[in-house]
């Protein structure tokens, strides 16, 4: 094993390692965010569907109320 790297050189490697970790976590959060977006879209569609159905069928609306 060679002598310890000087601080300025070692610092870059250490920073790179910690940045890799940070980047992976952020990428993961990004992917999960896009999944959340899809869930939100589906929920909106479902809500619209339910609202339309209630409008078509006034008897049901009374039931709900």
């Amino acid at each position: 094993m060679g002598p310890a790297l000087p601080l300025d050189e070692a610092g870059a490697y250490v920073a790179a390692a910690y940045l890799v970790f940070l980047a992976l976590i952020l990428a993961y959060v990004g992917i999960m965010a896009s999944k959340l977006g899809r869930i939100e879209k589906e929920l909106t569609e479902l809500t619209e569907l339910a609202a339309r159905r209630d409008a078509d069928d006034p008897a049901r609306e009374k039931e709900h109320a």
């Binding site: 790297l5 070692a10 490697y13 250490v14 390692a17 999944k35 869930i39 589906e42 159905r53």
Partner: protein, 228 residues
């Protein structure tokens, strides 16, 4: 309900990780041999340990799924393995950076822990292709569970045989010095980092389970609304 307790858990993992990294850079002493570059140790080793722990956890939930047949255990096993693969990428990347800085090469073959980790990673990289090559959902869950059990047993065996294969151990063997040469302050920092990484894993695990559960419920609701 997987979302329960997610808020305190996230706060705890952020606090533990920030605390750990603060300890790494402001408290832990410089390593006598390696100097500043040894700071990667506090990131690389917890990542590796948590990833391996995640693989074994996946195996344990695989056994539970085989015994109960419940979808819930299959999801838990799947998400644990999936997250461990992501942490495995981080482990290999940080390990390569460390190898480059200490030995001047991006990859070293006479380094048993790194090689064993690579083999385990290659095996688990097949988990998703296998899973999604099976169409029938029940069979998919069962086969994935069988894979998780086999893989969980393979992890320790692989580390043993690769470690035996190299007589000369050259890894920056900081962990081996525990009890021996590693100063207490370094060990304490390492433990905090390990705790932080474990908390992060559990948080992400519950987070993803909650998301998957929400999607499954949404799909069920859509079916009900469409058929009604």
């Amino acid at each position: 309900m997987y979302g329960r307790g997610l808020k305190p858990l996230s706060i705890a993992s952020v606090a533990a990780l920030i605390g750990a990294f603060a300890l790494v850079f402001f408290y832990a002493p410089l390593d006598a041999d390696q100097g500043f570059i040894q700071k990667i140790f506090y990131l690389h080793v917890p990542l590796a340990l948590v990833a391996l722990g995640g693989f074994v956890t996946g195996g344990v939930y695989g056994i539970k799924h085989l015994r109960s047949g419940s979808r819930e255990h299959d999801m838990k096993s799947y998400v644990a393995i999936h997250l461990s693969i992501i942490l495995g990428v981080a482990t290999l990347a940080t390990g390569m950076i460390w190898a480059k800085a200490s030995w001047g090469a991006w990859w070293v073959w006479d380094e048993p822990t790194l090689v064993a980790f690579l083999i385990v990673f290659l095996l688990y990289a097949c988990y998703q292709p296998l899973r999604f090559a099976i169409e029938d959902p029940d069979r998919q869950m069962r086969y994935a569970a069988v894979f998780a059990v086999i893989g969980g047993a393979f992890v320790p065996l692989c580390f043993m045989s690769v470690r035996f294969a190299q007589a000369a151990l050259v890894h920056p063997r900081v962990l081996d010095q525990t009890g021996g040469g590693m100063p207490g302050s370094m060990f304490f920092t390492f433990l905090v980092a390990l705790a932080g990484m474990t908390l992060l894993f559990v948080t992400l695990w519950k987070f993803e389970l909650s998301s998957k559960h929400a999607r499954a419920q949404l799909a069920a609701l859509r079916r009900r609304v469409a058929s009604a």
